[in-house]
């Protein structure tokens, strides 16, 4: 018995060292994610006061500041949602109450917001003008800021991993259990074995990690949790290099 105690202490110390190492890597990752957009905003604001920069360029930079600001807000929101999800809060316990809102409008707004993000690699982000989506215009009863985060996280994921000169399309179709919004992209492959594990907290696909080492692995996990809080879900399907992320809006909350 006395021999096993030091051995157990050694095992626990090794586990603690591993946890600390993972925490430090995670925090570095978070810091990296925040540094880039904050740095861009600072530099762009400096450029607005710079007499060498043309007025035309300054107009473009103001749009860029707005876009980077939105990215930061959502990034920080992801981190705060993480702790809220950990606490196991239900919709009824959120400060913001559910309201009826237009899912199509939400999706098209985010498609516009992401255009500057896709532009450097010529990735176009488009809301599909299919009749079922546009005229159907599903009205959903939910906590709007949380659903907004779901849509944001999925479009961000699709854009980040899309191949240059490709499209990310956002489409909506009626489904047996309600309404599905599908975000499709061609880009980094999701291995067949990973279509479920990509929703695990902190998990990043093998190909995604190689391409973008500094990701948090939180976006899809958060998106799924937030939709499940509303009785819906988020799922993934992958064929070759095409990935479809689907947001399932439950009919009980649709009008």
């Amino acid at each position: 018995m006395t021999d096993s105690v030091p051995a157990r202490i050694k095992i626990l110390e090794a586990q603690l060292a591993q946890v600390k190492k993972e925490r430090d890597e995670y925090l570095q990752n978070v810091s990296h994610q925040l540094t880039a957009p904050i740095g861009a905003i600072k530099m762009n604001i400096e450029a607005l006061f710079d007499p060498d920069v043309s007025l035309k360029r300054k107009m473009v930079l103001t749009h860029s500041i707005r876009s980077q600001g939105n990215i930061l807000v959502h990034l920080i929101k992801n981190f705060s949602l993480m702790s809220r999800i950990d606490a196991g809060k239900s919709i009824e316990e959120t400060e913001e109450k559910p309201i009826m809102f237009d899912v199509y409008q939400l999706c098209t707004d985010y498609c516009k917001d992401f255009q500057p993000v896709g532009k450097p690699r010529e990735v176009a982000i488009l809301a599909n003008e299919s009749p079922s989506f546009r005229r159907g215009r599903p009205i959903f009863n939910g906590v709007k800021s949380l659903i907004a985060q779901v849509v944001y996280n999925l479009i961000e994921n699709a854009t980040k991993y899309a191949t240059p000169h490709s499209r990310v399309t956002v489409d909506g179709v009626p489904a047996p259990k309600g309404f599905d919004v599908r975000i499709t992209n061609s880009g980094i492959a999701v291995a067949a074995t990973e279509v479920e594990t990509i929703f695990e907290r902190g998990y990043r696909g093998q190909f995604a990690t190689a391409k973008h080492p500094a990701g948090t692995g939180l976006g899809l996990w958060i998106a799924r949790h937030l939709m499940r809080m509303h009785g819906g879900d988020v799922t993934a399907a992958a064929t070759g290099n095409t990935t479809v992320l689907s947001i399932h809006f439950p009919k009980e909350r649709l009008s």
Binding site: A36, A40, E46, L61, P120, P164
Partner: protein, 138 residues
């Protein structure tokens, strides 16, 4: 010097993060070329009169670098540019904090500017100094 001869190359797949620097360079009368992968960056250096190349680290290598890992394109571009065009000043503009990598870059006469922590004015002063050769920051 004609405008074409006053050419600066920015190699970054997130060029909206260097938009301010691009705007400043254009405002100062430079012609700006942008590349979003290592292959395009090196090809521009070969065929255009680039005065200075400002290169990010984490970007696609592109087709000319099939054996380079997806997030190491910038390093491959820097190495190739230094070897093939030794007189062309190269600046590394990145968020990385790996001290040993930064030390290696500096040892190879590559100026390192930390993204997110360098003001526009400071970054531009360093870029212009590299172009004109007035001061050494290597």
């Amino acid at each position: 010097m004609t405008k074409k001869e006053k050419t600066i190359l920015f190699a970054d797949d997130d060029w909206h993060l260097v938009e301010a620097l691009i705007a400043k360079a254009e405002g100062k009368g430079y012609r700006v070329l942008t590349a979003t992968n290592a292959t395009d960056a090196v090809r521009y250096c070969a065929k255009e009169p680039v005065l200075c190349a400002i290169v990010d680290i984490m970007m696609d290598p592109g087709p000319d670098f099939p054996d380079v890992a997806p997030h190491q394109g910038g390093l491959a571009a820097i190495e190739t540019i230094r070897k093939s065009f030794p007189k062309l000043p190269v600046i590394c503009h990145s968020v990385i904090s790996d001290r040993s990598l930064i030390a290696r870059l500096r040892a190879n006469e590559i100026l390192f500017i930390r993204k997110g922590e360098t003001t526009l004015q400071a970054a531009w002063t360093l870029i212009e100094a590299k172009i004109t050769g007035v001061q050494s920051f290597g």
